[in-house]
Symmetry: C2
Subunit: 457 residues, 2 copies
């Protein structure tokens, strides 16, 4: 018996209507990536396990999908391991490939492997699915696309400026005005950890701070305490939670707090330069904001960090994020290559555009003309007309069966077709066809070889 | 120590240059799919194992990549199975998902799962990667794209006619003239098996016949013999190997051979109808040819079958194939849905276009303008100019560091940029910039806010 088919949890089928909307976003992002001089690369869906494992922390390793070795995989497991019947010891013996967990590590691997072919500075973009064995929930999937743009081999802060402009360009093009690009700098965070005497706990400090939006000031401080950061140190970091005012005034307060930290002051200066350049160049619809509590979880960031939030009133986590990392390719043996990059959250952007009703109405029109089918002879004549239209670039189709006219019209309605062509026995005899405007109901007769100019768009 | 990184065998990284070429092919295919009224769907990269296993024969099952269950996968294996230490018994206990092997079975699963949302007849296209644990060799990879278009829920032979036109349209658009679309019909093959008395060995008969191109007449006959098809039967099938002449004359010879087979004659009539319609409509650059030895390996075909071969002189297997199947969704419980579809072989088409030098020269130009970088102040002015150009849709970039001019020009050369902009201290002072045509060497001075119209293309 046939099962009732299903798909694995956390995965999705995409219908034509959903793909049209997703492509609207993806093509906008891609278009701007290209205008900004980024070039596409693609990497394999699975990598050697050693490329991925150990790069995302312990939890990351757990969430990586591993691919079972082909053939008699179990024969390669030694008896000691086998008799342990322990999943963690067995897994590495029976899998040597794993599905991509993000695009950043494969990109670092790509840069190192192809360093002799690449013309540095290398501006690449990459839009591909990634997979994580996460617990699925609203807006979180086991298969989802990442859309990344990075520059490697360029130290200038104008890169950061360009990425802020890139966010602005994409969201403006999508009609999503009023986004906020929040910026901070890891050097400032390092500086703070330094002046409060918690330098050795920098990772714990940033991980806790990163949760401020979600769990609030009180719980962040509790977590810091539980990680061994002293009450006195937390007290000292207090200005962080109190910062108010515009960027200039916040930077002023920060400068006071960090006056004894070389790295902290360097971070402040970087932010000032970036903000000043962005102000000179201007943004079309986004707002750049300083957020000294912005931390971002990933440890490889070393300079500016970014996160984009949806327009006010839309409850949604960040719809993009990124930053500068100084030694990403070091894990694969290529040192001293600085990089900076950002990412767009396709699924969340989709939800925001849906909520604000920002998808263009024309998106659902995948077909311009549908020719009805009135039988074998008429059908062949119709297909000839349709062929001519297609050759001219018109998206045209003939209904594939000579069923009831009503059924064919219903199909035209569902496909949201603006024009329907009627070519029956009478028209065939008179060498003409009728074009019906589905919105107005108006019918116009054309000669069989006449294709109205307004269809050519 | 960092390993020298590598990627799994049979997989590929794609560089910007390769992606530009692949996209040229994919966009051409997609563009025609859309003109022909097909709508895109996407399915998850992995399916539940039960969806895939048993659908591709024993060899197929072996070649499917299985995904190890997450967490403590081994604890769910019963002791009896575990103590057998047998890979085939263990695999289904520790994997419940598997990577897509083709797009056809997931499509059938999609149609059945979404039958209540779909407006039949459903014309869908799908362009996604698939994975096979095959032995990698020239032109055969473990990860590769399939490009499929299918119609389900339509019986008319005009569908077959449209697919022939679709092949013609795509290959003509790609500049690949002189392709041959070979056609046969499974009903004709069934008829032959019937009249030679090998009806029960139809699958063995078609599988052997399918190899004619590769191993020649003698070996095909040997294989048939070894599968239990009698010498007398093979003798009777001899006309198959001797068919000569145009379609009409071949159909005549076939009609004689199959005069006692109802199904065989039906197949002949179908082919006649298709050929006649194609002749009426005409093809732009492809040639339709009858090939009674064309068998195609896949067992689900029941009517017309197609295979496209590259222009004469290019040694390459088929660059596309497809056919009609009458009950593909039956495996998932939805009966009596007829379908027909074709597929394009991206990797092989790529090799053919490369060999015939048919990729447009403009493909490598991902950047229209590169602005040189002469320092902080000049750089900011340059970035402002570049921003204005980008807003107008021009692909423009600034070299990210104020390094030696020679190095920057070298980069412009490598990126194949047609125009370079010079905006140094002198220009900054005079509120202008110099645009250099890299092909002619000509330099023109423009006012800082002037963007030449020829860049707007």
């Amino acid at each position: 018996m046939a099962h009732k088919p299903s798909i694995p949890k956390g995965t999705r089928d995409f219908s034509p209507a959903e793909i049209a909307k997703r492509n609207h976003i993806l093509n906008t992002i891609k278009g701007q990536f290209q205008r900004f001089g980024f070039q596409p690369i693609e990497t394999p869906s699975f990598e050697n396990s050693e490329t991925l494992l150990g790069k995302y922390g312990e939890e990351g390793d757990r969430l990586i999908f591993k691919i079972l070795n082909s053939g008699d995989f179990i024969s390669k497991v030694d008896d000691v391991t086998y008799s342990s019947k322990n999943s963690s010891s067995l897994a590495p013996k029976i899998t040597d490939k794993a599905l991509r967990y993000d695009l950043t590590v494969p990109f670092a691997r790509y840069v190192v492997m192809h360093q002799n072919e690449i013309d540095f500075p290398f501006k690449r973009y990459q839009i591909q699915p990634v997979w994580r064995a996460d617990r699925p929930q609203k807006g979180r999937f086991r298969e989802f696309y990442q859309c990344d743009a990075d520059v490697v081999g360029a130290n200038s802060l104008l890169q950061e400026v360009e990425f802020i402009q890139l966010y602005d360009a994409v969201f403006t093009d999508l009609g999503l005005t009023g986004t906020t690009i929040k910026m901070n700098n890891r050097k400032v965070l390092s500086g703070i950890a330094e002046v409060i005497g918690a330098q050795h706990l920098l990772v714990d400090f940033t991980v806790a701070l990163d949760k401020l939006d979600k769990i609030g000031e009180g719980k962040v401080k509790e977590e810091m305490l539980s990680k061994g950061i002293s009450t006195a140190a937390i007290q000292k970091a207090n200005p962080l939670f109190q910062m108010r005012g515009n960027a200039a005034s916040q930077l002023e307060q920060l400068r006071e707090l960090l006056e004894d930290s070389v790295i902290g002051l360097q971070g402040i200066q970087e932010m000032e330069e970036i903000i000043s350049a962005v102000n000179t160049l201007g943004l079309r619809s986004a707002k750049l904001e300083l957020d000294v509590t912005l931390a971002r979880g990933l440890n490889y960031y070393t300079g500016a960090i970014f996160e984009v939030s949806a327009p006010e009133g839309v409850a949604m986590g960040s719809i993009g994020g990124g930053g500068r990392y100084d030694d990403l390719t070091g894990i694969f043996g290529l040192n001293d290559v600085s990089g900076v990059g950002i990412s767009f959250g396709l699924d969340r952007i989709y939800l925001v555009l849906e909520e604000l009703d920002l998808f263009p109405k024309s998106i659902g029109q995948s077909l311009q003309v549908l020719c009805l089918n009135f039988g074998t002879e008429e059908g062949l004549a119709a297909l000839k007309l349709v062929s001519q239209m297609r050759t001219k670039g018109i998206k045209a189709d003939m209904y594939p069966a000579a069923t009831k006219v009503q059924k064919q019209f219903k199909y035209a309605d569902k496909r949201n077709v603006p024009y329907v062509i009627l070519l029956g026995a009478k028209e065939l005899e008179e060498n003409c066809y009728i074009l019906k405007d589905m919105a107005s109901g108006e019918q116009t007769t054309f000669k069989i070889n006449d294709i109205p100019a307004f269809l050519l768009g």
